[in-house]
Amino acid sequence: MVTNWLSYSLSDFLMFGPEVFLRLFVRINQDIWPWQSVAVAMVIAIGALLVRGDAMARRGVLLLVAAAWLWSGAGFLVHYYGPINLPAIWFGWAFVLQGALLTVAALLWPWNAAKTRPACSRWSTGVGWIMLVGVSPLVAVAQTGNSLALSMFAITPDVTALGAVPCMLLFPRRVRWLFLSLPLIWSLFSVATLWTLGTWVLAVIPGATLVLAALACFINPRWAQNPD
């Protein structure tokens, strides 16, 4: 029995080829046009709220990230990716659940007790986040050579997970792991899938998410040590 399982490789479980996977990005962009503008607005809003950094802004950041989990989960994962890869449907519903949980946490968490950070730290966080999430969509373009394959935050799962992880630093460490488990598990799944598909360039995004999420489990910025 064990030797039977050893005869399987990762590629035996992959039931689709790179062509059909890479076209998912093109298809969703064609189908939802011009709603990408909402995703762009969300990115700018999150960046701006990270710069503002007060209690309401933190709540706003997390509500927008929650919306991104919901949209990319129900849209890309369940509707587009699911028909060619069953586990994508399970992940899609996990994304939706994460979005719902994050919404509740964002609304109920006592943000007023949070420490405010110095302006330069807030600016570097906000601008850095926008740069990270603004550049990442181009990775899918580089992989496919097709500008329609832009993989945007809130629309596609890898970039959503990458953008969500730094925002989880707003929570103190003891609850943060709750919201880091999904990006960790998803990114492991995604790296394995992309590696097996041979789309190595794309694997950079979930690879980076894995590193960031692992770091986020351990680091504990002072402004996140709230409220005790």
Partner: protein, 272 residues
């Protein structure tokens, strides 16, 4: 054309697999492209198409392609039962038929021996009731050949499906001779080792004696090695490409290697 031993009905020796290649979800552009691949297959004389509920959206895509081509009368439909629930044989057969848009399958196989005792018993009953024409079992990658042989020895089967190619030749030892002895048709899956044979060998030249064995390209070389085994009824390569389909169907024509030439073919590939 090779006969199915249990009935004498003849089948073209090259069929078509759909694992990965036809799982294109709701992508209309790719569905249309795969429809062209299927059209080429039928135009060049193919009939047997193999699919499984395990292959994601492949069965729905096949149904849509068959609608577009209006080609169901050309088809020899082969599907599989792939569920651990031994009571769900008929239900899964029904679901697959709905996706393909057909009234009954020509061949229904127990996929990878999953819950095979119950499924095979139901399939035998379905065959007796006229709900399926032929029944069989499948394996791949050389897995569970011992169990497979025992089932071949004890159960009435029309077909077996197994992996056999110029590199993976384990089936030559027991399963292929047993199929001949028991009068069971053999469908060969993974004839190109999932495409690896091309990746490994395509950059090499064909041997200077390739035309003696009726081969104009590597696809014909790999397929004719398989089809020239006397126990083999049909090989089912999968492809996403019309050009590759044309190459693969080329193996239906021209000379086939004899036993000595087959040994030479295997030795040539092993030496590369």
């Amino acid at each position: 054309m090779n006969p199915i031993p249990s009935s004498g009905e003849r089948l073209p020796a090259v069929g078509m697999g759909t694992w990965r290649t036809f799982n294109v979800g709701g992508d209309q552009y790719l569905t249309d492209q795969r429809t062209e691949v299927l059209k080429t297959f039928f135009d060049l004389g193919g009939t047997l198409v193999d699919c499984s509920p395990m292959y994601g959206s492949a069965a729905e895509v096949m149904g849509e392609a068959l609608d577009t081509l209006n080609a169901r009368e050309k088809l020899f439909s082969a599907s599989k039962i792939w569920t651990g629930d031994g009571d769900a044989t008929r239900q899964q057969d029904r679901e697959s038929r709905t996706k393909w848009g057909i009234e009954r399958f020509d061949l229904q196989q127990v996929h990878n021996l999953v819950a095979w005792q119950q499924h095979l018993a139901t399939l035998q009953q379905m065959k007796a009731d006229g709900d399926v024409r032929y029944i069989g079992i499948t394996t791949s990658h050389g897995r569970r050949h011992g169990d497979f042989a025992r089932i071949m020895e004890t159960e009435p089967l029309d077909f077996v499906q197994l992996t056999y190619n110029v590199l993976d030749r384990e089936a030559e030892d027991r399963l292929l001779p047993l199929a001949r002895e028991r009068g069971i048709a053999v469908i060969v899956n993974r004839p190109f080792q999932g495409g690896r044979l091309f990746r490994r060998f395509q950059s090499n030249a064909l041997p200077s004696w390739a035309d003696e064995v009726g081969c104009r390209n590597w696809a014909e070389f790999f397929l004719k090695y398989i089809l020239s085994h006397p126990a083999v009824t049909c090989a089912i390569p999968a492809t996403t490409s019309v050009e590759h389909m044309k190459e693969n169907m080329g193996a239906l024509y021209g000379a086939l290697p004899d036993e000595q030439q087959r040994r030479r073919m295997a030795a040539y590939v092993a030496g590369l």
